[in-house]
């Protein structure tokens, strides 16, 4: 198929049916335990 003529322009096409971006679950972190202060 070499008979498509002379090149005219370069295009970038992105299909609109692209797969959704995988959702990465946020890292689960345990809350830091702060030692209770001793009453003054």
């Amino acid at each position: 198929m070499a008979e498509i003529g002379e090149p005219e322009r370069r295009r970038i096409l992105v299909p609109d049916e692209t797969e959704p971006t995988p959702q990465v679950a946020p890292e689960r972190r345990e809350p830091t335990k702060v030692p209770a202060k001793e009453p003054a």
Binding site: I4, E6, R10, I12, L13, D16
Partner: protein, 144 residues
């Protein structure tokens, strides 16, 4: 697609470009399913699967397609049956005409395109041995 192929200043379009092309088909031995191959290269097209070509930024690489069916017919001197002989020389049974969706880096030419990615969207006619069976099988197995 590889976003490194996008250069500064490039416009990014959302969607695909429809083009028209032809392939070779072959019925393998032992009742295996029909195989679809590019007409010039040995690239095999698999059912419902996009194909990726060498970047069309490199020389004349990429998946070729014509802008219109008239452009395709002009290239084959008005009759896709003119392509059967070469397909048989390469061990295939015939040729099939159809359309593809193109995307990624797409070089637009005066009468066609060269693209990074493609997927068949229709098969309109088949020419050669078992052409009716080939067309039915392609329309059933290769299209979503």
């Amino acid at each position: 697609m590889n976003f490194l192929d996008i250069k500064a200043g490039d416009d990014v379009e959302v969607g695909t470009q429809i083009a028209f092309r032809f392939w070779r088909y072959v019925f393998p031995n032992h009742d295996a399913p029909l195989r679809l191959l590019s007409y010039v290269s040995p690239l095999r097209w698999r059912p419902k699967t996009p194909v990726e070509a060498t970047s069309p930024d490199f020389e004349q690489q990429g998946i070729h397609g014509f802008k219109t069916m008239e452009d395709l017919l002009f290239a084959v001197r008005g009759d896709p049956s003119n392509l059967i002989t070469r397909s048989k020389i390469t061990g295939c049974d015939g040729v099939v005409v159809g359309s593809v969706a193109l995307w990624g880096v797409v070089w637009e030419h005066s009468r066609g395109y060269r693209a990074q990615f493609a997927k068949p969207t229709s098969f309109s006619s088949a020419h050669g041995e078992g052409n009716v069976r080939a067309l039915t099988e392609l329309q059933t197995r290769f299209l979503q």
